[in-house]
Symmetry: C2
Subunit: 275 residues, 2 copies
């Protein structure tokens, strides 16, 4: 198995924090690092196990948390990433927060209010299935808030993520980048396969018509919110297995860099007799 | 592979709702149903996959939820059950709620306040890692509330669980039953294995000294709170694989009885062209 360095993968996917990211330069069909699909699958499997071990140490240490933000257009594969990268760690160590249409109560607060509530506690991995970025994506594309309010959000989001990173929460953000053609294939599969009908939402077709506006909004978010403390990674996602394997490499490398330590006990085994 | 009926396992583990349960009649070392360990492991593996499939239907349907309550003395294996029975379903479909010592805010409310907040939403499986039963277990044994207040809680808990079951939440409760000797073995393993030191809490030894008081409190809870709408299952848990396999059988059977249905779409595939 070829196994690229976690750091090399993280660097290759990075949207530069200087604001220079251009979506046109990122190929959603790229197949970097892994020789073939089975190579990617083997790497993924191994990394998923390592992530489980590392989260165990994170939990024992209870000093820091990891927040993984997943964003992508419909069918980009957020669910597939969660399942393949995080199922080995499991629901006791990973907390998934899905962000749907805000409720009335949520709308009565600022847009980060509901987000802050579900930031993972120390010891845990949190995964955002969509996130506060919807507030500069769908909200911008569909004009759900005044343009000047949306404009201020990029800096607000950067400040919020900086706050998290200064308080023990490492923030990793992945844009699952698929092509317009690949989305067509996946939507058609939902239509053609009765087992996938429940996943198909006629509204997805309306969203698809706004493809260009969404891509423009993504590009802006990736330009303005890829920061040294919370960088964006642009993950070529037309190939599912490679997408999962790349993300797993970055997550594993990040956890290794966080180097969670098992605490030394304040006691010696000889202090105790169990009878 | 021998495969006992889910219903037979559920019936065998049942603490009778007539209040007649006696802990002395339940053998934590019992090895019912599975011929051997590999038989239990195969059944478990298959059931974990089925539970994943069933949760998917539950999510598509969005009409009902399953709440699994896990209780047991230290080392009884709540974490092991979560990992083996629910990791295949994963953190997107399973929400684990751990109940530790209540915070000041939680103590400023009635004891079911924090519990109600984390009842799983429709479409999800919730797992309680400890639960409101601590309010008639540790609270009773350590006199953390007035005896007459604790005495009223059994009926209050029954009313609360009835409310849930009448509102789309199926409640399954498992007591992970281990022997005093088995706990000694597991605590010693934590002392002897440096990798497990972080799991050892000197307080566990203090709790162990109260073994008889805890068992009496469990017996009372299992007598008074095993109801037709939220029955207790007493799971022999000295053998880990068998414990996991028995619980998986009951969870699977319960989900099958809930028979979640994929909704029929309000559209025909021919209505749409993806271009």
């Amino acid at each position: 198995m070829t196994r690229p360095d976690c750091a090399d993968v993280a660097a290759a996917l990075l949207a530069p924090p200087d604001g220079g990211f251009r979506l046109a330069d990122a190929d959603p069909g790229a197949r970097p690092f892994f020789a073939d699909k089975s190579d990617a699958a083997a790497s993924l499997k191994d990394d998923a196990k390592a992530i489980d071990r590392l989260q165990n140490a994170l939990y024992a240490e209870r000093e820091q948390a990891l927040l993984v933000v997943l964003q992508g257009i419909d069918t980009a594969g957020k669910g597939g990433v969660i399942r393949t990268v995080f199922n080995d760690t499991g629901p006791r160590g990973v907390r998934v927060a899905p962000f749907g249409k805000p409720t009335d109560l949520e709308l009565a607060h600022d847009y980060l209010w509901r987000v802050h509530q579900v930031v993972p506690p120390k010891g845990f991995i949190g995964v955002f299935d969509r996130s506060h970025y919807e507030d500069v994506l769908v909200v911008k594309v569909r004009n759900l808030a005044p343009a000047d309010a949306v404009e201020r959000r990029y800096d607000q989001i950067n400040a919020f993520e900086r706050h998290l990173s200064e308080n023990g929460v490492t923030v990793l953000k992945f844009f699952l980048h698929i092509s317009r053609d690949e989305q067509a294939k996946r939507l058609r599969a939902r239509l053609e396969n009765p087992d996938k009908h429940w996943k198909f939402n006629p509204g997805d077709i309306e969203e698809r018509k706004l493809w260009d506006a969404y891509m423009e909004a993504y590009e802006t978010a990736l330009q303005r919110c890829s920061t040294p403390w919370a960088p964006w990674r642009v993950t070529p996602s037309d190939s599912k297995t490679r997408r999962n394997a790349l993300i797993a490499r970055v997550v594993r490398g990040t956890l290794e860099n966080m180097s969670p330590r098992y605490p030394s006990p304040g006691w010696s085994p000889d202090d105790y007799v169990i009878d």
